[in-house]
């Protein structure tokens, strides 16, 4: 009754082995495709516009998209369970405006930063309660939280709130030169990027090496089965929304540190960017399959696309959204093709 054998004598070699390996891990295909497309974009950009494959370009790519990477990681958790979180952009707006106003009012900046993150946690907790205990659809629950967050931010302030340059919060945005290349071509990172890297590493650990993480995948595959397997479904579903909210708060800190100001209209549409990054990275919207590293690649693909469009000069910036939509469509079709293969 053997189904998949591992007997050494029968081990296929070469291309066959690769194909076999791939078929065992068919769900990595969309993520692999994302990486391929990212590299492709870099090559195209270098060929068409030049000065892409440079330390400073790539450094800026990371620095400017650190907040998006953090958002995408948070959203990956949620989408893996088959849910969605539309509130993250609004959370960033409310959290950043509140934080900056508190710092300007004299609060301890570090305390204010902690509060910014906790605001995210609070929103995530409420979303989780609405979804898990009141059985509200994730779309509706987080949409409601989005309106709430946006409204609260607007109540606080409708004008940009500026941070003093010396503020410790801004220190998280300071550029640290790691490597001094010729002229301006240096490798530069910010503490924001480091934070993003830590978040990604932690997320990877949780998703692949803890029971909670594996439960996230199980819920996405089949919530009923996960419950019948005795897994802590209710608690885990709460956790993913709390994580998403908290990371949105953290993204607010990172973004505000870089920008130095906050406004109630910040983050409009960012939840959609984060979802796009996650989907491009190979996570199925239906849940159960996907990789957090893929979401990182997805965020970078979106960031790079912006860079290329700016470099081109000929494409109006308004076309960005159309092109994002196009890329997204390509990836979703690729996911469908992979799923169809799997079903056979």
């Amino acid at each position: 009754m053997s189904t998949l054998t591992t007997h050494p004598a029968a081990e296929p070699t070469g291309v066959r082995a690769l194909a076999k390996r791939l078929s065992l891990h068919l769900d990595t295909l969309p993520t692999a495709a994302a990486v391929v497309i990212f590299i492709g974009m870099i090559i195209y950009g270098e060929a068409a516009y030049g000065r892409i494959v440079q330390f400073n370009t790539l450094s800026n790519l990371l620095i400017n998209n650190a907040h998006l990477i953090i958002l995408a990681v948070g959203l990956t958790f949620v989408i893996l369970t088959g849910g969605i979180d539309l509130s993250v952009g609004a959370v960033i707006a409310f959290s950043s405006v509140a934080g900056v106003m508190l710092i300007n009012a004299g609060w301890n900046p570090w305390l204010a930063m902690a509060l910014m993150v906790l605001i995210g946690t609070a929103f995530g907790t409420v979303s989780g309660i609405l979804i898990q205990h009141f059985h509200v659809q994730p779309f509706i629950a987080t949409l409601a939280m989005m309106f709430l967050g946006r409204g609260l931010a607007s109540i606080l302030s409708t004008v940009p709130e500026r941070l003093a340059d010396e503020s410790p919060l801004r220190s998280l945005g300071t550029q640290i030169e790691i490597y001094d290349g010729p002229k301006v071509d240096d490798i530069v990172i910010t503490p924001g990027v480091i934070i993003a890297a830590i978040v990604v590493a932690a997320a990877f650990f949780v998703l692949h090496r803890t029971r909670t993480g594996r439960t996230v995948y199980a819920i996405g595959g089949s919530e009923q089965s996960a419950a019948l397997m005795g897994l802590p479904v209710a608690a885990t579903k709460m956790w993913v929304y709390i994580i998403s909210g908290t990371l949105a708060g953290l993204a607010a800190v990172v973004y505000t540190a870089r920008l130095g100001s906050a406004q109630n209209i910040t983050g409009i549409g960012w939840e959609l960017d984060a979802i796009a990054a996650t989907v491009i990275g190979g996570t199925l919207l239906t849940g159960g399959a996907g990789f957090v590293l893929g979401s990182v690649v997805g965020a970078l693909v979106l960031g790079l696309m912006n860079v290329l469009i700016t470099r081109d000069g000929g494409i109006p910036p308004e076309a960005t959204t159309i092109i994002t939509g196009g890329i997204l469509l390509v990836f979703v079709l690729l996911q469908r093709a992979v799923l169809a293969r799997r079903r056979e």
């Binding site: 009754m1 053997s2 189904t3 998949l4 054998t5 591992t6 007997h7 065992l24 891990h25 068919l26 769900d27 650990f205 692949h208 090496r209 803890t210 029971r211 594996r214 439960t215 995948y217 199980a218 996405g220 595959g221 089949s222 009923q224 089965s225 996960a226 419950a227 019948l228 397997m229 005795g230 897994l231 802590p232 159960g288 399959a289 799997r342």
Partner: protein, 534 residues
Amino acid sequence: MTATRPVVEMSAITVEFSGVRVLDDVDLTLYPGEVHALMGENGAGKSTLIGALAGTVPIRSGEVRIEGEERTPAGVARSRAEGIATVFQETHLSPHLTVAENVMIGNEVRGTFGIDWKANRARAAEVLARLGLDDLDPRSPLSALSPAVKQLVAVARALVLEPRVLILDEPTSSLDAAEVHTLLRVVRGLRDHGVAVLFVSHFIEQVFDVADRMTVLRGGRFVGEFPADELDRAELISKMIGEDIDALKALRSERLAHHYCASGEPTLRASELGRRGTLDPTDIELSRGEIVGLAGLNGSGRSELARLMGGAERADSGEIWMDGVRVQLRSPGAALRRRVALSTENLRDEGIIRGLTARENIVLALQAMRGWSRPLSAGERAGLVETYLDTLHLSPDDIDRPVEELSGGTQQKVLLARLLATRPHVLILDEPTRGIDIGAKLDIQRRVARLAGEGVAVVFISSQMEEVVRLSDRIVVLKDREKIGELSNGPGVTVDTIVEMIAADLDGESEELFGHDCDTGLVSVKQFTLNCSR
């Protein structure tokens, strides 16, 4: 062994779903080191009782004691913590996770850096080897496995827990003879180690092979608890089925007496009807007043043929003639307009419309045929429902309730009423009696017989071959997605006849699919058991 204390004592368990009493005052006692079989017809409440013990079904009244202490089982996690491992009838594993994860999660081996996957894979491989799956790579995704192997992985998951109570609900329904043999060996091994095993199976031979004690349920009620050696097969069956066994025998005699002679143009004739990957080109003919049974094992193509005839799937090849006229049955709607009605095997998802009431479900197809511009009047609708209330023995209390709250048997009757309302010439029924209580089963079989008398051509599919043999005038046998033969029903035709036909077609593969153990005198194949006459 019975001098020891019971590890599980369930007393006076009552379970209700939407006002319907699914279990009424049922007792169950499990002792360590004993295999206890839970027996009963479909719908008797076996799975519900298991759910009550495992914690997935809320108990309305009654007591559950585990090792003497009263406990309220509440969820699988709790029952697993108590040492009760359940393998459900529907394999509930995570399709997106690997085999190792499915086996180990909840009991993972941990290292300094979180879950130690290498150690987990090793442990999983160890347990899988006990079940004969030493070749299975623990890294393979669960979705790539066959239902049989998935079921064994589910058993492995239960074993990893090292439970004191192991519950197996129909564990062998997808397994072949060799796998069954291995599983029963494992069960005996567990029993010898002091585990209490609760075993549910409709394969009577397997039950007698392994059980020490049996509890029989019928219609949600407790019939009795008996040591296995004090009961013989006939007694057991009669306890499970009750007085209805006579009604079934009567139906068979009735059908045999009904001599069917086909005359004139067949009502439906399909030639070379097929669909790539699901059914090889097949010929089939139906005439008015005839019941044609499709017999075969799981995956033989019966449902596929039914769906092609009923317009639920598009055929890649072949042609269909009705009363001599060539027709295209491209969709279920088109089939309905040609008076071909199909009841698929997927009652819940493709049959009844769950959100609507029974009344609304019944009038649906007729209304659909008429189109939206000619609504049925309230009087017409009421009249229609009245007719079927009567002929199908539906309760007036059920008619205006949402159909999803009704029992499986009632739902099937509602669907049948809907199809009959369109006055079909051809009625295709795929598994109309699956998973429903014996009373409803009988009703439906009687109705089908009467329909034939009224001139409808009926196609009848059931995995319970006895039903096919009982009702059909002609039996078409399918195997591995093709038709291998046809026979006219008669007094000499039994389930054995059909099984032999399928076996004879195997050309030496019979050793694999059929475990013929002539010492105990039994043959067991995936869906049914029978005795070989020796």
